[in-house]
C-alpha cells in the first residue's frame, strides 16, 4: 500500500527514468552490439512506458473534442512504430515525457512566489476562551502573556472580536487591533517593508506577519479567509489568471496553428509520400514556447512584485505600466507623510496659548486631518514620545496602555459647531464666536486680515506649511501653522522617474504657496494647486488627451476618481484599506514611494521579456519548419528543439522572479 502511494507520488519522474533507461539500453543493443530485434523491442517498450500517460491524455483530449500536443505526439509515435522507425518513436516519447516533466517542475517554481505567501499564516492561534461567560472583568485583570487563560485552536476558527495572544517570535494568526503589549512586527510578508514596524495598543496587525519582541494581545478583526494576506493572495492569483492582450492574440493564433500543421502534415504526405516528414510535422505541431512564454513572464513579474509589497491588477496593467510617461502625485499623504503636526502658533494681540486653545475648542468635533494636529498640540505632551522597542520589558506595562487619555489640559466642547467644507469651521464657546479656517472663509465672513498677519502667513506658506487663521468675535487673533513632513524618499523617487524619462506632476488641494514650496523641495517643476477632487480628475484627463500614458499616485480613497481615470492608478498604503487592494490597478501595500520606479522598471522588463519569449518561439517555429522541409530535422531532433525552446522561455520568464 505504502509502496504504491510512493510510486504514485513519484510516478512522473519514474516513468521518465524508466523510459530513458529502456531507450539507452536499446540504443546500445542496436548500435553497439547489432542485436536488431532486441533493440527494436526495447525501443518499443521505451515508447510504451513513456507514452502510456501521453496516450491516455490524448484519448481524453480527443473525447473533449480537441487536438492537443498529447494527441499529436501519440499519433507521431504510433506512426513511427508502424513504419519501423522504432528509434525515432522511443526518442520522441522519451524526450516529450522528460520535457513535460521539467516544464511542470519549473512552472510550479514560477507559482512558488505565491505558495510561499500561503504558507505564511500559522495554522493555530492562542485564543482567550474562559468558557464561563463572565470573562470580561476577570480577563481585563490578567496580564498579557499569561498563557493559562488561552487555548490553542485552529487559526481559522477564531471569531472576530475574540482576543488572541501572540507570543514573541510567533506569527500573527489573524488580522486585528492590538489591545495589550508592545512589540516590533516584521510585516514583510504583507507589505514588503524590510524594517520592522513598532506596534502598540490601537495599532493594526496583519495575519502572516511575525512578532519579533514582546507578547501582544490582539482583538481579531479578520480571520480565516477574511484577512489582508488572503485578500492579497486572491488578488495576485486573479491578476496572474487574467490574460494580457498579447496572450489573447497568441491564443487565437495557437487555435489555428495546430490544425494548420496537421493539415500540412496530411498534405505533405499526400504529395511527397514521405511518412517521416509528415510525422515530424506532427511532432512540432504544437506552438509550445509561444503559448507558454508570455504567461510565464507575466506570472513571474506579478509574483515578484507581490513579494515586495506591490499588487498588480493583471498582465494588462503590467503592459500599460511599462509605457507610463507621466506620473501625477497627490501631495498630502503621498509625497508627504500625511501626519500633520503643528509647527508654529503665533498670537496677534493675545498669547499663543489662547490661540491654540480656541482653535482646539472649535476643531474638537471636526474630522479634518488638520483638526487632529491642532487637538494633539493643544492637549500637551501626549504619549507619543514613549520609548520605542525595549524587548522584554514590554510585558510589564501592557494593559494600562489601553485606556489612552492624553494627560494634557482637557479641551471643553464647543457650544455649537458648523463645518464650512474645504474652508474651515465655525464654533461658539463661552458666548464667543470662534472662526478657524483659510482666507476664503475669513473673506466670506467679512473679517479683516491685518497686514502683519498676512505677512506672517505668507512666510509660513513659503516654508511649505499650511496656515490656519484663528478669529475670535470676528477679529483675527492668531495663526496656527501645520506642517506635513515630506517623505524622505520623495525627492529620490521623483529624480529616478525623471531620469527614466518620465514626467512628474504634483496635484494638490492645498494653496499655491505651500504647493510651490513642497514641489520645489521634491524637485517637481509642474504643480497644480487649489484643486478639488474633480479638478484633479480633469487634470488627469487633459494629460491623457495630450497623448500621455498617465499614472496617478494617491491614497486610494480621496483620490479614487483620479486613480480610476488614470491609465494606471497607484494606491498608497493599501494594507489597511480593502477597497484599495480590490480596485487599484497597482496597490502599494506599504507607504513606500520607492516601489513606484521599481514597478515601472519591472513593467518595462516584463514587456521586454515577453517580446524575447515571442521572438524565441517564432524563431523556433521558423527554424523547425525550414529544417523539416530542408530534411535536416527529423522526429527526435524536432522534439528536442521543441522542448528546448519551451524550457528556454520558461527559464527566461523566471528571471523576472528575481527582478
Amino acid at each position: 500500500m505504502d509502496l504504491r502511494r510512493q510510486f504514485q507520488k513519484h510516478r512522473k519522474p519514474a516513468v521518465v527514468v524508466a523510459s530513458g533507461l529502456l531507450f539507452a539500453v536499446g540504443w546500445v543493443a542496436g548500435y553497439g552490439s547489432g542485436l536488431e530485434t532486441a533493440s527494436a523491442t526495447l525501443m518499443v517498450l521505451a515508447a510504451l512506458v513513456g507514452g502510456y500517460d501521453v496516450a491516455r491524455k490524448a484519448y481524453y483530449t480527443l473525447r473533449s473534442g480537441t487536438v492537443g500536443i498529447n494527441t499529436l505526439v501519440t499519433l507521431a509515435a504510433i506512426g513511427a512504430i508502424a513504419i519501423g522507425e522504432y528509434w525515432e518513436a522511443a526518442a520522441v516519447v522519451f524526450l516529450f515525457a522528460l520535457g513535460t516533466y521539467l516544464e511542470a517542475r519549473t512552472m510550479s517554481k514560477t507559482r512558488s512566489a505565491l505558495t510561499e505567501l500561503l504558507e505564511m499564516t500559522p495554522d493555530t492561534a492562542l485564543v482567550r476562551r474562559d468558557g464561563d461567560g463572565g470573562e470580561a472583568s476577570r480577563a481585563s485583570k490578567s496580564r498579557a502573556g499569561s498563557p493559562r487563560d488561552y487555548v490553542e485552536v485552529p487559526a481559522r476558527d477564531v471569531e472576530p472580536g475574540e482576543t488572541v495572544l501572540v507570543k514573541p517570535g510567533a506569527k500573527v494568526p489573524v488580522d486585528g487591533d492590538v489591545v495589550g503589549g508592545e512589540s516590533a512586527i516584521d510585516q514583510a510578508p504583507v507589505t514588503g517593508e524590510s524594517a520592522p514596524v513598532y506596534k502598540r495598543a490601537g495599532d493594526e496587525v496583519y495575519a502572516g506577519t511575525v512578532n519579533q519582541e514582546g507578547a501582544l494581545e490582539v482583538v481579531a478583526t479578520g480571520t480565516g479567509r477574511d484577512t489582508t494576506l488572503e485578500r492579497i493572495i486572491r488578488r495576485v492569483e486573479e491578476a496572474q489568471e487574467a490574460t494580457a492582450p498579447t496572450e489573447t492574440i497568441i491564443e487565437r493564433f495557437a487555435t489555428y496553428y495546430t490544425p494548420a500543421i496537421v493539415a500540412l502534415a496530411v498534405g505533405a504526405y499526400a504529395v511527397t509520400g514521405n511518412a517521416v516528414l509528415a510525422l515530424t510535422l506532427l511532432v512540432i505541431g504544437c506552438p509550445g514556447a509561444l503559448v507558454i512564454g508570455p504567461p510565464v513572464s507575466i506570472v513571474s513579474a506579478i509574483g515578484s512584485a507581490a513579494r515586495s509589497g506591490v499588487l498588480l491588477k493583471g498582465g494588462e496593467h503590467l503592459e500599460t505600466a511599462g509605457k507610463i510617461d507621466l506620473v501625477a502625485f497627490d501631495k498630502t499623504g503621498t509625497l508627504t507623510s500625511g501626519e500633520s503636526t503643528v509647527a508654529n502658533v503665533t498670537g496677534f494681540g493675545v498669547d499663543d496659548e489662547t490661540v491654540l486653545r480656541h482653535a482646539a475648542i472649535a476643531e474638537k468635533r471636526s474630522e479634518h486631518h488638520l483638526a487632529d494636529a491642532i487637538l494633539e498640540a493643544a492637549s500637551g505632551p501626549s504619549g507619543d514620545s514613549a520609548p520605542v522597542a525595549d524587548g522584554g520589558a514590554v510585558l510589564e506595562r501592557s494593559t494600562e496602555a489601553t485606556g489612552l487619555e492624553p494627560d494634557g489640559p482637557a479641551i471643553p466642547d464647543p457650544d455649537d459647531f458648523a463645518v464650512a467644507a474645504g474652508k474651515g469651521v465655525l464654533a461658539g464657546h463661552d458666548g464667543r464666536r470662534i472662526v478657524v479656517g483659510n482666507r476664503t472663509l475669513l473673506d466670506e465672513r467679512g473679517i479683516d486680515v491685518p497686514d502683519r498677519v498676512e505677512r506672517h502667513v505668507r512666510d509660513r506658506e513659503e516654508a511649505g506649511e499650511t496656515a490656519v487663521y484663528v478669529a475670535l468675535e470676528d477679529e483675527v487673533v492668531g495663526v496656527v501653522s501645520i506642517r506635513d513632513e515630506l517623505r524622505p524618499a520623495a525627492a529620490g523617487v521623483v529624480a529616478a522617474l525623471e531620469n527614466a524619462g518620465v514626467r512628474t506632476v504634483m496635484l494638490t488641494g492645498d494653496n499655491e504657496r505651500t504647493a510651490r514650496s513642497v514641489a520645489a523641495s521634491v524637485g517637481i517643476d509642474d504643480y497644480r494647486a487649489g484643486l478639488l477632487p474633480e479638478e484633479k480628475q480633469r487634470a488627469i484627463e487633459s494629460f491623457r488627451d495630450d497623448g500621455h500614458v498617465v499614472s496617478m499616485v494617491g491614497d486610494g480613497i480621496n483620490d479614487a476618481p483620479s486613480l480610476a481615470t488614470a491609465d494606471v492608478g497607484v494606491a498608497m498604503g493599501a494594507a489597511g484599506t480593502d477597497t484599495a487592494i480590490e480596485t487599484a490597478d497597482v496597490a502599494l501595500m506599504a507607504d513606500d514611494l520607492e516601489r513606484i520606479p521599481d514597478a515601472v522598471g519591472l513593467s518595462k522588463a516584463t514587456r521586454r521579456n515577453v517580446a524575447e519569449n515571442v521572438a524565441v518561439a517564432v524563431a523556433t517555429v521558423g527554424l523547425l519548419l525550414a529544417g523539416v522541409f530542408g530534411g535536416y530535422v527529423h522526429m527526435a531532433s524536432g522534439m528536442l528543439i521543441h522542448i528546448a525552446s519551451v524550457l528556454l522561455v520558461i527559464l527566461n520568464g523566471m528571471r523576472l522572479l528575481r527582478y
Partner: protein
C-alpha cells in the same frame, strides 16, 4: 450549489488545462468550471445532489493530473 477549489501543480501545457476545464464543465451536475493554467487553480461550482467531490477529483485525475484541496 456548492463551490470547491483545487490546486493542480502538474499541468503540462495551457491546452491541457483548458481540456480539464472543458471536461469538468461537461460533467453531469457541474454548473461552472474554471481552470487556470498560470496559477494551477481549479474552481468548480456543482450540484451536490447530482455529483460529489470524489467524482470531480476522479475526473481531474483521469486526465493525468493530481488535484489537491486547498
Amino acid at each position: 450549489m456548492t463551490q470547491i477549489e483545487y490546486r493542480v501543480t502538474d499541468f503540462d501545457c495551457p491546452t491541457c488545462a483548458s481540456n480539464v476545464e472543458r471536461t469538468l464543465a461537461k460533467t453531469e451536475g457541474v454548473d461552472r468550471a474554471a481552470v487556470h493554467y498560470t496559477t494551477g487553480r481549479v474552481e468548480v461550482e456543482y450540484d451536490e445532489a447530482a455529483v460529489d467531490d470524489a467524482e470531480l477529483e476522479r475526473t481531474i485525475a483521469k486526465q493525468g493530473y493530481t488535484p489537491r484541496l486547498r
